[in-house]
């Protein structure tokens, strides 16, 4: 069979997809632990500001877990958003702008979330 020599297309390979799958699974695991812990440690629910602050201070593992949760959820959502946008067959330079935008959103969201965690832990201190 006479065929043209294939030209591999530039662009990312399996890695982003792999991260999406792994973060997805980690989100499920953390959510599961979250519900267990939440149910066990704060059976009344966390429905007031004071309760949330106390909860975070008394159990340091909780804000650490939440921090990781934030990172996983944000990256999963942004890679997912990107794969939906990719399906739109956008032009290469538009896609570059999109990528920059998504990375910015990710960094801002993560920074903001971590700042928020510290703000809660240090409330009134």
């Amino acid at each position: 069979m006479q065929n043209t020599i294939s030209q591999p297309k530039a662009g990312e390979s399996y890695l982003l997809w792999f991260i999406k799958i792994v973060t997805g699974l980690l989100i499920i695991v953390i959510l599961f632990i979250h519900f267990l812990v939440n149910h066990y440690l704060a059976p009344e629910g966390l429905l007031s500001h004071a309760e949330v602050v106390a909860y975070y201070r008394n159990y340091p593992i909780v804000p650490i877990m939440e921090g990781f949760f934030l990172v996983f959820v944000v990256s999963h959502s942004l890679i997912g958003t990107r794969s939906i946008l990719l399906d739109l067959n956008l032009k290469k330079n538009i896609m570059r702008v999109v990528d920059a935008l998504l990375v910015t959103v990710g960094l801002v969201a993560t920074g903001y979330g971590i700042w928020l965690l510290f703000a809660v832990i240090n409330w009134g201190a």
């Binding site: 799958i21 989100i27 429905l47 007031s48 500001h49 959502s77 939906i84 928020l116």
Partner: protein, 131 residues
């Protein structure tokens, strides 16, 4: 071959959401994409709302009180249903992608839908009971 337009005969993103003529796997994809978009919107709204925690007890507690109206509760329920489906279907697709259970993808999807239903009922009842 003579072809006047060369533009493919597509309906654009309608193809992502139109369930007509599609089968079980296609419906699974449609739901997955809908929940993905819904959950992403929710995630960033949620992050913004949690900012109230940094503004102190008054802001946060009044927000929680505000959030107890039925419409928001209904929205939360949607988030739970969507989250359950997206998570469980994610497990299905992840398994499939590593070569596990592809011939049973239909049955797996039925399982995902069943578990989503059961999970949603449990959460719904709990929410109903606590409020």
């Amino acid at each position: 071959m003579e072809n006047p337009t060369k533009k493919p005969n597509t309906r654009g993103i309608l193809d992502w959401f139109d369930p007509r003529g599609r089968r079980v796997g296609g419906w699974g994809f449609i739901l997955n994409r809908l929940t993905a978009i819904g959950l992403t919107v929710y995630l960033y709204l949620h992050l913004i709302m949690l900012g109230k925690l940094a503004q102190g007890p008054e802001a946060y507690d009044s927000f929680i009180a505000f959030a107890k109206q039925p419409l928001i509760m209904f929205g939360e329920m949607l988030v739970i249903i969507g989250g359950l489906y997206h998570g469980l279907n994610g497990v299905r697709i992840a398994l499939n992608s590593f070569g596990v259970g592809v011939p049973a993808q239909k049955q797996l999807l039925y399982g995902v839908l069943g578990l989503t239903l059961v999970g949603s009922l449990i959460f719904g009842l709990r929410m109903f009971a606590t409020h």
